[in-house]
């Protein structure tokens, strides 16, 4: 059934809270976004360097195997046996020439083709599959795969535009910035937040909250709205990047700007300042960059911590944030150590990220039974969606909703895009 959404405004400056609680909306998101023409982030090519390497991931709530075949080509297919629906690969990662379902031992190649099944011809002329059983037609659903500088994306839809145009110059350029040389995986973190996945997608597009919710940023001068920086979006306003340039404001500017908040700009100092050391390693001089790709991906740089995040919806009221941190392959030991010390800033226990989990959970809790009210999204202006060379904005949230509504087929009359 088509959902009926009474958008209060056509520019998504009001978003009804019930969209975070409705089971029907959630199912439709899985169908029209995650199994639709969006490109979802899967994993990094560096995680499956050798023939036979595989990882299991989630696209929306569909389990997916990403694997490098014997011929080195990378494939992604639904991790579900065509026979009775059991998960084929139950490990997180590994190396295998073929994958065998545990239930009836149906066998799949690294490319996700059904290649064999026991007793197909029966035993002693009895039983077995019908003679016209077509194994080829029974392979699990495959994803179309895209590789942007080693960041792997997949889509289930034949209608999806090419990955390059989906990401746009904006996206391909910024991914290249992060992945311009070989990387080395440092590891993973996972966090389960009891809130709808879109609240996390919004959070990543909201530069307004960063220096307010995450007071650590301001107190210790990692990131303040007074620094030079801004918000960029792709032409369709579905992806965005919050960014800031290191050391481009003064203590006095910051003090004046944060005078009416509870920020403690003078009173506190870290005893061990190496936590906030920043070794500039990119020509653009940004110390904070957080490009977000619709629907489920984030690349993150906070000082010298770099990585990706993948949003994994887990039902209407929960999602997992799966974070992968990496170093560059040519980093020396001291640099790797520095990146790991900087990792104190991010992740489930991060000095500048732990608050997000709490902010999202208290929204989910407080809006559960609300069918009428909407969120107010006007910081940075109403109407047209545009890039801003300042950081007091939440416009990219409206961009997210405009593309969400387009894919869901629920745009308001005269919707902006």
């Amino acid at each position: 059934m088509e959902p009926k959404i009474d958008w209060p405004r056509n520019d998504y400056s009001r978003v009804p809270f019930w969209l975070h609680h409705d089971e029907g909306i959630y199912e439709l998101e899985m169908e029209r976004i995650f199994r639709g023409p969006a490109w979802s982030y899967l994993c990094l090519e560096a995680e499956i360097p050798n023939p036979g390497d595989f990882r299991t991931v989630w696209v929306g709530d569909t389990p997916v195997v990403v694997s490098r075949n014997k011929d080195s080509a990378i494939h992604a297919f639904v991790n579900r046996c065509s026979h009775r629906g059991a998960m084929i690969v139950r490990e997180l990662r590994g190396n295998a020439e073929r994958h065998v379902c545990l239930y009836h031992r149906w066998c799949y190649s690294g490319a996700g083709e059904l290649t064999g099944l026991p007793f197909r011809k029966g035993l002693k002329g009895e039983g077995g599959m019908p003679q016209d059983f077509d194994m080829k037609a029974q392979s699990p659903r495959k994803m179309k795969l895209g590789n942007c500088h080693g960041m792997l994306f997949g889509t289930f839809s034949d209608r999806a535009e090419p990955l390059e145009s989906y990401l746009g110059e904006f996206g391909t350029g910024i991914i290249q910035r992060f992945l311009s040389k070989p990387i080395r995986i440092l590891g993973y973190s996972r966090q389960r937040i009891a809130g709808n996945w879109k609240l996390y997608a919004e959070n990543l597009r909201d530069t307004y909250h960063a220096s307010l919710l995450h007071e650590f940023f301001v107190t210790y001068g990692v990131d303040r709205a007074t620094q030079k920086g801004g918000v960029k979006m792709d032409a369709r306003h579905r992806h965005n990047m919050n960014h800031a340039y290191a050391a481009t404001d003064t203590q006095d500017e910051a003090k004046a700007a944060y005078a009416d908040t509870a920020a403690r700009l003078d009173r506190m100092q870290l005893r061990d300042k190496k936590l906030l050391e920043y070794k500039n390693e990119y020509p653009d001089g940004m110390n904070l960059a957080a490009p977000t790709f619709f629907p489920n991906a984030l690349l993150i740089q906070i000082n010298n911590t770099i990585g990706t995040r993948q949003i994994r919806p887990k039902g209407v009221d929960a999602h997992e944030v799966f974070q992968t941190l990496f170093a560059y392959a040519d980093d020396d030991e001291a640099m790797v150590r520095h990146r790991l010390i900087s990792a104190n800033l991010v992740g489930p226990a991060g000095f500048v990220s732990m608050e997000d989990g709490e902010a999202i959970e208290v929204i989910q809790r407080a809006t559960r039974s609300e069918r009428q009210a909407s969120a107010v999204i006007e910081m940075g202006g109403r109407g047209e969606l545009r890039d801003l060379a300042h950081r007091v904005t939440e416009t990219p949230i409206r961009g997210f909703w405009s593309y969400w509504a387009e894919l869901m087929g629920v745009e308001p009359t005269n919707a902006i895009r």
């Binding site: 590891g187 993973y188 996972r190 005893r271 010390i341 226990a349 732990m354 709490e358």
Partner: protein, 158 residues
């Protein structure tokens, strides 16, 4: 491994105070259980088993621990809750110079303000500690959490 009874008792008491100081929100006391040159980190079993060095938290000296605690007190915002650690027996594994090495399993429950409790984390500690007379101090604590999927967020230490 043969360990003098007094050492066992002293380190057992040290770990009891470790757990209770967090549970009673005496984080400053918790910091004081560590050596100046200590190492405290929280890692997950998923990373350890893959040989990956990633950390959820890493303080490589006592000042970083002090900074963490001060930040919790004045800067960071997190889910209001009570902690409750339940520790298992210490299993001694080695002696490196003056330091006793042992493992201990833990469960950590969190209770929110309205009284609902949940299992927040389960795993084990790998500890190196020094005993001098009746007192002991921690040189190194690595929390290896089986619970790699952190519920909500991780603020107060494990």
């Amino acid at each position: 491994m043969k360990v003098p009874t007094q050492v066992r008792e002293t380190l057992g008491d040290l770990m009891a105070e470790y757990a209770l100081s967090i549970d009673e929100n005496r984080l400053e006391d918790w910091v004081e259980l560590f050596d100046e040159g200590c190492d405290y980190r929280v890692v997950t079993r998923e990373n350890v088993e893959q040989g990956l060095p990633n950390v959820l938290m890493w303080c490589d000296n006592k000042n970083m621990l002090r900074d963490r605690v001060e930040s919790y007190r004045h800067v960071n915002l997190y889910n209001p809750h009570y902690d409750r650690h339940v520790l298992g027996p210490l299993r001694f594994t080695d002696k490196k110079g003056p330091a006793w090495c042992f493992d201990a399993p833990y469960s950590l429950f969190q209770t929110e303000l309205e009284g609902a409790s949940r299992l927040f984390s389960v795993g084990r500690y790998r500890v190196e500690a020094i005993v001098e007379g009746d007192s002991a101090r921690l040189q190194s604590v690595t929390v290896i959490a089986d619970t790699g999927l952190i519920p909500s967020l991780l603020a107060t230490p494990i």
